[in-house]
């Protein structure tokens, strides 16, 4: 099941959020089931970025739901339910990560200093040097095409596994952004709010993550 976008029927808008919170407060089980169906998997994936152990990540998500329920009275109508839930998740996961001590440094997640580091979308040797007499900085040889009917090939089970593996091998901060933006369809604003990063950093991480996934697809589809 995919979370798709913010437009998910019934989960959009402040008025709907207020209504959902009222239902939860009233103990409506169906509402809780729908929310967990919608968010649980991506919460688990996000928690897994902070705590690598899957069982611990599951624990974090459970803990998050409990905090959500216990905090319902503090939910303010002007914030969005999704954003609120995921803020609780990220806080819970960070706290747990510190306790577990077996995690990536916080700096790699909360406040990535992306602007200082360099990572090319494409290996530099695939371009002519910038001081080349002719065609400086242009392709040495054109990127190979992805063959006939790429759309069909891209939907195969093999490619899905490849994409999953490619996402899993991304650095954590890139993995978060690519997952939320491209796989879950979140808006830039939501991603920046939850992860507390600037739009510029978000774009850099998105670009690097997508570029790595594209490269993995290229290797698979063209053998280069």
């Amino acid at each position: 099941m995919r979370l798709a976008t913010n437009d998910v029927a019934g989960l959009a808008g402040v008025a709907d959020d207020t209504h959902l919170v009222e239902l939860l407060r009233a103990g409506d089980e169906q509402t809780f089931v729908e929310l967990t169906d919608r968010y649980h998997s991506v919460m688990l994936r996000l928690a897994n970025v902070y705590v690598r152990d899957r069982a611990v990540a599951q624990d974090v998500v459970q803990d998050t739901w409990l905090r959500v329920l216990r905090g319902l009275d503090r939910f303010e109508a002007r914030s969005r339910l999704k954003t609120w839930i995921f803020q609780i998740l990220v806080n819970t996961a960070r706290t747990r990560a510190v306790r577990e001590k077996r995690t990536i440094p916080m700096s790699a997640l909360g406040d990535p200093v992306v602007a200082d580091s360099v990572e090319s979308a494409i290996e530099p040797e695939r371009f002519l040097p910038v001081d080349a007499p002719r065609w400086p900085g242009h392709w040495t040889s054109l990127p190979p095409g992805w063959g006939a009917a790429p759309e069909e090939r891209l939907l195969s089970g093999e490619v899905r596994s490849l994409i999953h593996a490619a996402i899993d091998s991304l650095p954590p901060s890139q993995r978060q952004v690519v997952t939320l933006r491209d796989s879950e369809g979140w808006t830039t604003e939501d991603v920046c709010n939850i992860l507390q990063i600037t739009e510029t950093n978000q774009r850099v991480l998105l670009h690097r993550g997508r570029s790595r996934v594209r490269r993995a697809l290229e290797r698979y589809l063209t053998g280069t």
Partner: protein, 86 residues
């Protein structure tokens, strides 16, 4: 093709996400769009990035396992009985 302020392919590939996110300043956007028609390599690259994004959007999310769902329901019912009353 060697006009000084012309975008090179090497520069273009790094701007693709900003371009797709509508985050390029107008002048950069113009340079980007002027480069493309004459450059099959960058057209291919841009198309492959679009396809990559498309495939990333089709990665299906694992559904909630019955065991996890049951645990969550327990959690909810416990909260309903106990916590909420406090």
């Amino acid at each position: 093709m060697s006009i000084p302020d012309e975008l090179s392919c090497r520069e273009l590939v790094e701007l693709v996400t900003d371009y797709l996110e509508n985050a390029l300043p107008l002048a950069e956007r113009v340079r980007f769009e002027e480069h493309l028609p004459a450059c099959p390599g960058c057209q291919t690259y841009l198309e492959q990035m679009r396809q990559t994004i498309d495939v990333l959007g089709r990665v299906t999310e694992e559904s909630l396992e019955p065991a996890a769902r049951d645990q969550l329901l327990d959690l909810f019912r416990n909260w309903k009985r106990g916590d909420r009353a406090n």
